[in-house]
Symmetry: D2
Subunit: 226 residues, 4 copies
Amino acid sequence: MDVKLICHTPNCQQVVATAARLCYSADDIDTILTKMGDKRGKKLILKLIDLGHQSPFEHISFTFGISGISRSLSHQLVRHRIASYSQKSQRYVSESQFDYITPPSIKKDEKTKKRYDQLMENIAKCYEELSEIAPKEDARYVLPNSCETKIVATFNARSLFNFFQHRMCTRAQWEIRLLSEKMYDIVNEISPEIFSYFGASCDTLGYCPEGTMCCGKAQTLEQRER
Amino acid sequence: MDVKLICHTPNCQQVVATAARLCYSADDIDTILTKMGDKRGKKLILKLIDLGHQSPFEHISFTFGISGISRSLSHQLVRHRIASYSQKSQRYVSESQFDYITPPSIKKDEKTKKRYDQLMENIAKCYEELSEIAPKEDARYVLPNSCETKIVATFNARSLFNFFQHRMCTRAQWEIRLLSEKMYDIVNEISPEIFSYFGASCDTLGYCPEGTMCCGKAQTLEQRER
Amino acid sequence: MDVKLICHTPNCQQVVATAARLCYSADDIDTILTKMGDKRGKKLILKLIDLGHQSPFEHISFTFGISGISRSLSHQLVRHRIASYSQKSQRYVSESQFDYITPPSIKKDEKTKKRYDQLMENIAKCYEELSEIAPKEDARYVLPNSCETKIVATFNARSLFNFFQHRMCTRAQWEIRLLSEKMYDIVNEISPEIFSYFGASCDTLGYCPEGTMCCGKAQTLEQRER
Amino acid sequence: MDVKLICHTPNCQQVVATAARLCYSADDIDTILTKMGDKRGKKLILKLIDLGHQSPFEHISFTFGISGISRSLSHQLVRHRIASYSQKSQRYVSESQFDYITPPSIKKDEKTKKRYDQLMENIAKCYEELSEIAPKEDARYVLPNSCETKIVATFNARSLFNFFQHRMCTRAQWEIRLLSEKMYDIVNEISPEIFSYFGASCDTLGYCPEGTMCCGKAQTLEQRER
């Protein structure tokens, strides 16, 4: 899996703090912009997070170039609707000799991995045969979930908070969890004054909201009451 | 493919016409509701369509139960973000002896179809073997795009207009085109006074907006100029 | 303020439970629909709420006809973006002799109320004078926030949960709080098996998420730790 | 009215073209990024516009600091739901001695303007009196639509296309038309290779989609048929 940041809004802290400050200030925008470039901006960000006032974080966004992921993952990813996607098309691009993802639980056993690789080879062969008779968009019906895809995805920070809460959680599948961790590391390096307060639900909220499905890493509210 | 309407907003014409009329009227809501139940409502709907004033159509929505479709199709479907989805999970539901979709271009040639069916059988066997060693969510990496899925999808009428424009177009893949036609037939039976004016882009706009990719069924604006 | 339900998705519990059950079941949609009409549906709803699994609640929606509210309120209301609105236009409908909202804090003091009413009268007079010279859309620049408006608003249940959390909170302004309470009462009567678990943030979550702005009605997480 | 660009996605053409190219290419993301920095990127942008393929334009966004606008305008502006807003609050910021917008149709006649200014003065006086008795959030009920506000607004390019089509149209009110023109000039200077193809509906589509409400600046499709 390869995740790279293609571009992002510059001066994240200043932009978010300016937008937030504007709501409660009589100052003009230039004055607010100047004031929010420094420590005061940082302090305001903290307050927004404490109050759960997340809308100002929508003003900054991040565009990721993601490759070496399975179509299983991409099908989960695009379910996050407050984001923009451009994905490699299996209708128009040939998947002859496609690369594929192997889950760790399969990779770890040599015999199982061999079985898996053989099936992938069979599928690839069949795909090529079908490609000669049927259009690519139909030949692809044999392609597996494991088939590699690439996608460009843009999220604003507020939508990322939601993405991290759900997908960095131990209940998420390993592959999208890995993706969310990589995305998190990238944005947290750019703007730790914002993202260091976020992560999986339990790291963000201080408790686990998953009820009876809680993994035990953190306590649910009910457990804490006892 | 099986598409059934699970539920929908009742009295579509009256609801849309009331919402639209409210914008331009000094009457109270009850009065408007009464007036819009009849011919005047129908006439107003026509005017909204003529003016391209689509927001009142957001007030009515339709919930479809869709089954017997491939994961290829569902991956395309959920890219429509102004809609709500609940889909059968391959992480939690076993796909042992899964059903699958066969594209017409493959089905029509007996030998090709046999090759396809054999591969599906191989995949199913491998899936079962993997399921004994790995969790379902990982075993599913071998499952093909053709694998059948089920999904409940809710669209408001405005989002349906957009869906129909793109997916009833000849450029859409056969499977999602079939789905969109079935969805169209269902809503058009319920509310022809609204939906009879919509369909593929060319049927809706009167010309083809697909530029150089136009299929020839209708003319592009450029072609009409000549 | 008058709030009436214009229409809504029928069989709320059954629709939500069916959508949710589909995700985890090998049954076909008709079978699930039948099963979810009874107690099992009710039990599943509870589980969804316990797990914070809110997406199935998007499949049901409610259309409200709202009148006798101020433009202050409507400006706040339309900030909720996951909803659909049709509002009486001040550009096209004359506001000659407009009705207006008087806040309780002004109404309670007779002298203050008189001052307020006089100003409203002055504004109405000026509006009429301007209407003779300028188009309605410009004359309306003198109209006050208190000016009554009407709006048709459609929310799905998930978006309503969010609306109730923020707007039934004591920190919300009295007018939108009143609106949210009326909307809540309406939907809770239709579907108490869903809505009885929701309300202001503190009633929904069991604690106050407003940090240092907490009103004291419930404790924040920090306060509960001590 | 003052509109300034607070920030924006850098390298607009390269980002959009890379996202679009990824859909149809077997190349890796770095290779595509490099290729799309030059003429090929520009050519691809043109093709996307010709085909009406707008989703790649969602990856770039623009954050505007807008001040010196009326609350009439801001109420219209926030109806565009695919955007993010942070607006000066009349609940928390005092509007003592508020500035206000005067429509040209009122400004042009001296006597009318005087009448308007006097009313504004009366309102301001009343607001101050009420502020001593009632909370700011209630005193503001007397404030007029003309009252100046400030707002930070973030749009992606696709949402801007929609905004320009509707709000640069002669049917839009003068104030939001002026705003949209200023926003257009700003983004068109940054990225003319994208925005020069957009504007009011008629400038974008080549015909007027407003049916019987057409201003005559361009022809409707029906008129062109004749």
